[in-house]
């Protein structure tokens, strides 16, 4: 293993750690109710970005994968009905696998 590759990994780790640690210890009492409310919405935006871009973006192009969208609809429906994460995740992913195999 070369020194260069280890240095690269160390630098990658340093910038990654910086992003994770930098704001992790902000004093809560320094935050106004509005800021705290805003913080509660951050997951909504991040989850949306992760999900929508993986569904509708591929190599810079807008795509519509009907199987993927159907699996997502099934996942949401099962979550609505069962509130069971594992069941909803497993069954909807199973649909994708089955459709790829057949």
């Amino acid at each position: 293993m070369s020194v260069e590759i280890l240095l690269l990994f160390a630098a990658m780790m340093a910038v990654t750690y910086l992003t994770r640690r930098a704001l992790l210890r902000m004093k809560a009492d320094a935050l106004s109710p509005r800021v705290r409310s805003g913080l509660q919405y951050i997951p909504v935006g991040i989850f949306a970005a992760l999900i929508f871009t993986s569904l509708f973006q591929k190599d810079g192009e807008l795509v519509f994968d009907w199987l993927a969208l159907s699996a997502c609809a099934l996942c949401l429906l099962l979550m609505r009905v069962t509130k069971n994460f594992f069941l909803s995740f497993g069954v909807s992913l199973g649909l994708v696998v089955v459709m790829h195999v057949v």
């Binding site: 109710p33 800021v35 909504v44 935006g45 989850f47 949306a48 992760l50 993927a68 994460f85």
Partner: protein
């Protein structure tokens, strides 16, 4: 053992039970992490890394999306700083994740927070966020979730590099959808009001548009900032009535805080 969350008593288990609960809660997602670790391991060989280099990157960097991007850039002979900068951009969303988790870490020591920050990834964030909606933050739980996912990522890397081409191509089976479906099922818990659903759709559309314009990772940061702006301008407190009508009045996550006790 109990802690206070927004003036009410939050459920908390003995330390050993919190460790066990963390492992149990992380187990389903850990399987996805292990699977993608295996995919990373296989792709790393194609990018020209040795098995040891592949494992070293997983052990040292521990950043899934950034590691996949780095593989692509290494195989394209990208420069040192280009890869480091891409890693920073892809992981820039963690600034917001850290900010979002800060109320739950405030009762812990700086040493513990600094140590566990290394293990704070999208998946552990999602698991802990759901846990801390109803339970007081706990060191054992945080460590269990973090180490479980870290272990599975590295075991997956080893399996991927060891098995190499002998493992059936997960992408051909459509298993690339596993993270999307996992995030969707977890996001469901966040979508308990019409404003949150609308924010979810608008932020998603914004991210899709920006993903084709901004460098890797920044569209996530932009979506997080946009969602923060919605919550800031329309404070969660004003939505409590709609949440109560939805039968979820006990979950006032906008007001939750950990107790002052370090666990």
């Amino acid at each position: 053992m109990e802690g206070r969350v927004d003036g009410r008593m939050a459920r908390s288990l003995p330390s050993g039970s919190e460790w066990r609960q963390g492992v149990l809660d992380a187990a389903p997602i850990a399987m996805s992490v292990l699977l993608f670790g295996a995919i990373y391991g296989m792709l790393s060989l194609q990018a020209g890394l040795t098995a040891w280099e592949s494992l070293a990157m997983s052990l040292i960097v521990y950043a899934g999306a950034a590691q996949f991007a780095a593989l692509s850039m290494l195989s394209g002979d990208a420069g040192f700083w280009a890869i480091v900068l891409a890693t920073f951009f892809i992981n820039s969303r963690h600034f917001l994740i850290g900010l979002s988790m800060s109320p739950y870490y405030k009762s812990f020591s700086g040493r513990f927070t600094s140590g566990m920050a290394f293990f704070l990834i999208d998946e552990s964030y999602a698991i802990m966020l759901n846990r801390f909606r109803e339970h007081a933050p706990n060191k054992g739980y945080i460590a269990a979730v973090g180490l479980m996912l870290y272990g599975c990522w590295n075991v997956g890397t080893v399996l991927g590099t060891a098995a190499g081409k002998w493992i059936p191509d997960p992408q051909a089976l459509g298993l690339g959808m596993s993270f999307t479906l996992m995030f969707l099922a977890l996001a469901y818990y966040q979508l308990y009001s019409w404003l949150r659903i609308l924010t979810f759709v608008v932020c998603g559309a914004l991210a899709v548009w920006l993903a084709g314009v901004l460098p890797n990772g920044l569209h996530l940061l932009a979506a997080g900032v946009a969602a923060f702006a919605v919550g800031y301008l329309l404070p969660e407190r004003s939505n409590e009535q709609s949440k109560a009508q939805a039968g979820d009045a006990s979950d006032l996550s906008g007001e939750k805080e950990a107790s002052g006790d370090e666990r």
